[in-house]
């Protein structure tokens, strides 16, 4: 198992877990969010081949109402 920070919260995940797997575990549609891994934007096409590593910091953001 590995420890990863997801939106500021520590999560324990299996090894070789991909970002796409994490999003689907959270029931999030990847086409609605933008993911940053250690402050780098990860292109949507790469979410299913990008695996998480111990100590990674993940930010998952989305659009919402704003002026």
């Amino acid at each position: 198992m590995i420890c990863v920070k997801v939106n500021g919260r520590q999560e324990t995940l299996p090894e070789n877990y991909t970002i796409a797997q994490l999003l689907s575990q959270k029931e999030l549609d990847a086409s609605y969010v933008v993911v940053q891994l250690n402050f780098e934007i990860i292109d949507r096409s790469l979410l299913s081949e990008t695996t998480l590593n111990e100590g990674d910091q993940l930010e998952v953001v989305k659009f919402l109402g704003g002026g």
Partner: protein
């Protein structure tokens, strides 16, 4: 009347009412946007809250609308630049409303950081609309670095106080070549009409529509006001005089 379109970036826009989507309940969103006749809507970026799954705002915005993410939350140019790039990765095009706000009491923008962020984001290929405190020198500088539009505030965000900065906005309208969009502070349709009569290219509204008792009806009221003010501006308004000028003939058959 021939088509009066507003050119921003590579787009030609018929509606001069831009709409912020904050505080509008999602189920009402489409109706409000349609009543306003809006073609440009702003959205913000936030962390996903995994504990409170919510629907996606993009599903409630009509197809064909230009989505303009803002950089709200940014306190420095660097943060605004980062947010703009994240927003673009969200796949809604390359428009961005730069707002850099270090002041939480009045939510006044930092013009210097806004200028820095604008310069960089234009180089990065964004269509940048810059929210700013109305200052001619800053507006000209934003124009010089490639801003697609400048957006001076009428009054602080959400205050509904109208065009408190009218004189300064007037100068910017007179001197700038890029579109001037009055953003923030507009609380009533008459304020929006006033901005358009002055020659503003468009207005950006949010609170005044979103928090009205009937936001759909208010969206329509603002749409009519914006159209009315724009038509009056194009028609050429009469100047004011100190003394009366008769509008009926005074020729005297009573003499």
């Amino acid at each position: 009347m021939s088509k009066d379109l507003l050119a921003i970036g590579n787009s030609l826009i018929a509606s001069r009412l831009f709409l912020g989507t904050g505080k509008i309940p999602l189920p009402k969103m489409k109706q409000v946007i349609e009543a306003a006749g809006t073609q440009v809507v702003t959205v913000a970026l936030r962390r996903v809250d995994f504990d409170q799954p919510e629907e996606n705002i993009l599903d409630f915005i009509p197809d064909g609308a230009i989505i303009m993410p803002n950089t709200s939350g940014a306190r420095t140019a660097a943060e605004a630049i980062r947010l703009a790039h994240i927003a673009r990765a969200g796949g809604c095009g390359n428009w961005v409303k730069i707002e850099v706000i270090p002041d939480q009491k009045y939510l006044l923008p930092d013009n210097f950081e806004t200028l820095k962020a604008t310069e960089q984001l234009v180089k990065d290929g964004f269509t940048v609309l810059a929210y700013m405190s109305p200052d001619l020198i800053v507006a000209k500088s934003l124009e010089a670095v490639g801003a697609a539009a400048v957006m001076p505030l009428g009054a602080p965000i959400g205050t509904n106080r109208g065009l408190k900065m009218k004189e300064l906005i007037n100068i910017i309208i007179e001197e700038c070549h890029v579109p001037v969009i009055v953003d923030a502070g507009i609380g009533r349709p008459s304020h929006a009409a006033e901005a358009m009569e002055m020659g503003a290219s468009a207005v950006l509204l949010n609170t005044a529509i979103a928090t009205a008792d009937d936001s759909v009806a208010m969206a329509l009221a603002f749409r009519l006001a914006v159209e009315s003010g724009r038509i009056a501006y194009l028609a050429g308004m009469c100047g004011e005089t100190s003394y009366a000028r008769a509008s009926s003939p005074l020729t005297g058959f009573l003499d």
